[in-house]
């Protein structure tokens, strides 16, 4: 049908978020850029809201070859390319400036190319901010506050290990069921970035949000190599350029969304704690970090991340992670 009907190359791009989300808006910018770069010979059709499946399923569709591109959390890529575990580890980045320097530098480039053997290729990182704990009954000001608390985590071994190291009980529950689970006490809390906390309306139930920023797991824009290998060098260049441009747009929109979300939940009466001592949290996960660093690949990447320097302007508040 459509893909072969004319000179226009149609790329199908699926993602799991709704059409108001910075990711979707970033993708619309990408589609527009690609359209103008290619003078209309390349077109991106976006399938939002999990229409074509969960992030894991869409990655598989890329491998099968029936979907061109998708956006996934790098934690989902772990199950395909184990290198990505390093981005799910707690307190690997000193601050936002350091994180962007890493992801847009040599380490980021290496990671984006890492899934090539798995028929996947990263095109760009999208910002997904930093994740922090939100709870129903008491704020998590220090690790001991997590004692005996059931915390919802994503389906990721790293996330479970981290919550366990901090003293909580990790409980994997699907995102869609989380609201009622919080409401009904199936779990005592969860962790996520401010826009997700706000848009999911979890703040209606979980009244404490402490910005300890334990992890900063980015999103990745991925293309299947089945599609990538069919593109001419010129088309690849256009697609890469459009991806980079869309990442810039998405980053700006994300920052705005984060600020809006924090203001909005505070206006709703949520107790947002921004001034948190992260050192005790970072100390609590040291054992876990040592264990993960036994994998030479992870150790090498952690080292490369540590030695990456943020641009001078950045305020580098030292955290316990590099102590």
């Amino acid at each position: 049908g459509c893909a072969e009907e004319s000179d226009v190359r149609v790329i199908r791009l699926g993602h799991a978020l709704d059409t108001e989300h910075p990711v979707h808006l970033g993708m619309e910018a990408m589609a527009a850029t690609l359209d103008s770069l290619s003078s209309g010979t390349m077109r991106i059709d976006i399938y939002p809201s999990q229409q074509l499946g969960s992030e894991r399923v869409m990655l598989e569709l890329l491998q099968i070859g029936s979907l061109g591109m998708t956006k996934v959390s790098s934690s989902v890529l772990e199950n395909f390319a184990p290198e990505f575990r390093v981005l799910s580890l707690p307190f690997v980045f000193r601050d936002d400036a350091h994180r962007f320097a890493v992801l847009e530098g040599a380490v980021g480039d290496e990671l984006l190319e890492a899934p090539e053997p798995y028929r996947l290729r990263g095109l760009a990182f999208y910002d997904a901010g930093s994740r922090s704990f939100y709870t129903v009954d008491t704020p998590v000001l220090e690790p001991s506050d997590l004692m005996g608390q059931k915390i919802r985590v994503q389906e990721s071994a790293t996330a479970m290990d981290m919550v366990r190291s901090l003293g909580g009980s990790p409980t994997p529950i699907s995102w869609g069921e989380l609201y009622t689970s919080l409401q009904q006490g199936v779990v005592d809390g969860a962790e996520n970035n401010p826009p997700s906390f706000y848009l999911s309306r979890h703040y209606e139930v979980a009244r404490y949000y402490v910005l300890n920023e334990h992890t900063a797991v980015p999103d990745v824009l991925v293309v299947g190599t089945t599609l990538w290998d069919r593109l001419s060098p010129q088309e690849r260049g256009w697609l890469q350029e459009a991806s980079d441009a869309s990442a810039e747009v998405q980053k700006r929109l994300w920052r705005e969304a984060t600020e809006e979300a924090l203001e909005a939940v505070e206006a709703e009466g949520v107790e947002v704690v921004t001034d948190v001592d992260k050192a005790p949290f970072a100390a609590a996960v040291q054992g876990m970090m040592t264990q993960y660093a036994q994998d030479p690949q992870i150790a090498r990447l952690l080292d490369a991340i540590r030695t990456t320097q943020a641009p001078a302007a950045a305020d580098s508040t030292r955290t316990a992670a590099d102590a």
Binding site: I64, S66, Y179, S181, Q184
Partner: protein, 431 residues
């Protein structure tokens, strides 16, 4: 281009269906055929296979085999018999008493088991012979049993509402379950009304009065069975369990009860497990291929195409709602409930939301609508089961079914245009 996809998808499906290929396979083949229009054959069949497997990869769906298993254990464990006795004691006195007993027992049984098929066999299997002996027309009895069994699909727990929750992208199951009570009772009451009018005109007998002492004894006898209701619904609504966990607990509870009543032996267990696995697998294959078809439809933008052309016809919410109801009624006559919900929810729900209809309310409308289809030929699961249980034929049961359909359609109109019937209870519990 979408219309070519629609034509291949619909044409393949309809042709194979009419030729007598099992419905689940018709859906799967149509999906694969339509996808090869956009994707090479290799990736196309791999994608359909992947969608079949990942469609079943859902913790929520596991509630379905568990509720079926619990229903089978209840059936064998003497729970159905106790509920029928209670219903008889409560309303056997009304004109056409046994018909009302059948409806009430189906509602009670539906309230503790998730399966209308189980209700149709358990209640119909017991009540049919009794009604015949008392001089009721067996076809009338079958019609009452067939239509009243569908109340079990609306009154929670309900497997089809679980499937709707999945298809709608996660509408709260607890909320849907709460929303089902009043509409289920409305349907049951209207069927009772029609059955009663017919019974009076035909002069069917009423049962003897049950003394208060006897009624109390029947109630006490049924308490352990009714307690299952508290375990399942209390557990889900109170947030103690997810629907799947509640279903597993219901299995354990029904199992213990069946052993206590000494109506089940350990050696019966493998057979019960196999029966429920095989019964649910029929539904699971439908779910697997229907989800593959939904995927193919999303991939080829069919929902958007249909929505656009539907909204181009009219923009009156009432007209569109009537139109959707009409389409679903027609769909329900030839399609089983599960694929209908999985395939049409992604198409109609966005329109409904656009019109300001609550997704929970829309779920009840959709399920009630398709309940009518379950009782109509050519494809009607409950019709087949009800006719089989009564030992009659579809031709003979059609006439007595017509007034019952009327009752169900009136209930459908009421429930469509009075949202409070569905939404009052969930709102009361804060959903």
């Amino acid at each position: 281009m979408e219309w070519l996809d629609v034509a291949v998808l619909g044409g393949t499906f309809a042709t194979l269906l009419l030729l007598g290929v099992p419905v689940a396979y018709c859906i799967g083949i149509a999906s694969a055929a339509a996808l090869t229009l956009s994707v090479l054959p290799g990736p196309a069949v791999t994608t359909v296979a992947q969608q079949m497997a990942t469609g079943l990869d859902s913790f929520t769906l596991l509630a379905i085999p568990f509720f079926v298993l619990a229903g089978q254990l209840m059936n064998r464990g003497g729970i159905a018999r106790r509920l029928i006795a209670l219903a008889q004691g409560m309303i056997g006195r009304l004109p056409g008493g046994l018909a009302h007993v059948n409806v009430l027992a189906a509602m009670l049984f539906g309230a503790i088991s998730g399966s209308a098929v189980a209700a149709a066999t358990a209640v119909g299997g017991t009540m049919g012979p009794v009604m015949k002996r008392e001089g009721y027309d067996p076809d009338y009895a079958a019609a009452v049993n067939i239509t009243s069994s569908t109340t079990g699909l609306i009154i929670p727990p309900s497997n089809i509402l679980i499937i709707y929750s999945l298809a709608s992208g996660g509408v709260s199951i607890a909320s849907l379950f709460l929303a089902g009570y009043i509409p289920g009772i409305v349907v049951g009451a209207l069927i009772m009304l029609v059955a009663g009018v017919i019974a009076v005109r035909r002069g069917y007998p009423r049962s003897d009065r049950t003394g208060l002492g006897e009624l109390a004894r029947l109630f006490v006898d049924a308490i352990p069975s009714l307690f299952l209701l508290v375990v399942v619904m209390g557990g889900i609504v109170g947030g103690i369990f997810t629907a799947t966990e509640a279903a597993a607990v219901a299995v354990l509870y029904a199992l213990i009860l069946a052993f206590v009543y000494r109506e089940l032996k350990v050696s019966d267990l493998p057979k019960v497990l196999l029966d429920s696995a095989s019964t649910t697998a029929v539904v699971m294959l439908l779910i697997a291929t229907s989800l593959a078809m939904s995927w193919v439809m999303a991939y080829t933008n069919i929902p958007q195409t249909v929505t656009a052309s539907l909204l181009a016809l009219t923009d009156s919410p009432v007209a569109i709602l009537l139109l959707i109801n009409l389409v679903l009624l027609v769909v329900g006559t030839f399609m089983d409930m599960t694929p209908a919900v999985l395939i049409f929810t992604p198409i109609f729900l966005p329109i409904a939301i656009d019109l300001g209809i609550d997704p929970v309310h829309f779920g009840i409308i959709m399920v009630l609508n398709l309940c009518i289809g379950l009782c109509t030929p050519p494809v009607g699961t409950i019709l087949f089961v009800g006719v089989g249980v009564a030992g009659t034929t579809i031709e003979r049961v059609i006439r007595p079914l017509l007034p019952m359909f009327l009752a169900m359609v009136i209930a459908l109109v009421l429930i469509t245009f009075v949202p409070a019937l569905s939404l009052w209870l969930p709102r009361l519990f804060g959903y």
